[in-house]
Symmetry: C2
Subunit: 196 residues, 2 copies
Amino acid sequence: MPIMASPAPSTRDRIVAAANKLFYAEGIRGVSVDAVADKAGVTKRTLYYHFQSKDDLIAAYLAGRDQPNLELFKRWFDEARGGLAAKVQAIFDNLATSARHPKWKGCGFLRTSAELANMPGHPAIKIGAAHKKKFEAWMAAEFAAAKLSDAVLLARQVTLLLDGSFATVLLHRDPAYMEAAGQAANALITNAHRKR
Amino acid sequence: MPIMASPAPSTRDRIVAAANKLFYAEGIRGVSVDAVADKAGVTKRTLYYHFQSKDDLIAAYLAGRDQPNLELFKRWFDEARGGLAAKVQAIFDNLATSARHPKWKGCGFLRTSAELANMPGHPAIKIGAAHKKKFEAWMAAEFAAAKLSDAVLLARQVTLLLDGSFATVLLHRDPAYMEAAGQAANALITNAHRKR
DNA sequence: TTGTGTATATTCACTGGTCAGTATACATGC
DNA sequence: GCATGTATACTGACCAGTGAATATACACAA
């Protein structure tokens, strides 16, 4: 497939890209709709032509992060050498590297759910929940393919370690926690292999 | 020690109590200083007599949650039957019960750090980080007392599972994740016993 | 080919309301 | 009288969302 010149992004895409940068960097409630419109080079009224409300924009922001994030995890997993445990651990180690970048601010999905904890039915939270379920289901499929008996439980525990490291590294600003989480994931998987 | 009639709470204490309820329930940025003052039955000017700024009030809110939270964890641990792994697991199971209460909204420290992720030096974040470090150090001391070799790493991994379950249960509203995290903690500790 | 209608896309200017923080004054007890 | 604590009333900034008008593009009839 030849490399194509990417078409000029639509106005809507530019708004979502601006929202992504600002919401991720400064949080949902810390960013005004005006600020997003400015960053996108568009008037606020135009933004409200493409999105019904700020809540709608928030949902679009998270929806835009879903696939790319999952693909990144899969790529880290696929490109890692070694057995299943090592490949899962590689996700954590790669994440630790990402977390050293000064612009890293944790997981956008988890941070949004923390910020909107008083609105459990918010569309953005549903998108975040679905994203994490996809990760968990992918892990479960990998474990099941390796004929591990507790594939579902194990996938859940790896997800818990992943989200724990997002939250903890955001708090302490110390990516070493991610490596500790990766070692724990490795130990749990190795253990499951032994029991098989 | 006789049970004492609790003295009438000071104005400052009433303000912190009001801030605790509102900030925990609705998030920092979602609650105005006016709302806290109203809830405390005090004018905003009085609130600003006792606190220098909203940021100062946020820090007081978290500082007030530090000791009680740690003591609760310790009580759950002490009162549980069984070995070390079972006692740690009991923390997760008790937490799952708490999380079923409709007012439960995750961990105030983690949610605040998520909301203030763009202000890494904020006093409230330092208080949250110190709180989690205390939990981790307590766990490490318990593991060291049991002569487990990787006490420090293990304590860190249990903390990661705990924070992961806070974040994940807040997102999915499903306390079963906490039980899965408790089982993972149990497995890691049991594993460490075996290696000792 | 040109004129006209219509849907899409965008702008400027505005509203009603909220928010963090403050100037000033009053009360109370030592 | 002075320190502590509380109240009323205000400021200037910001913010989500809107009304009304304008610009662009394209379909289709004259």
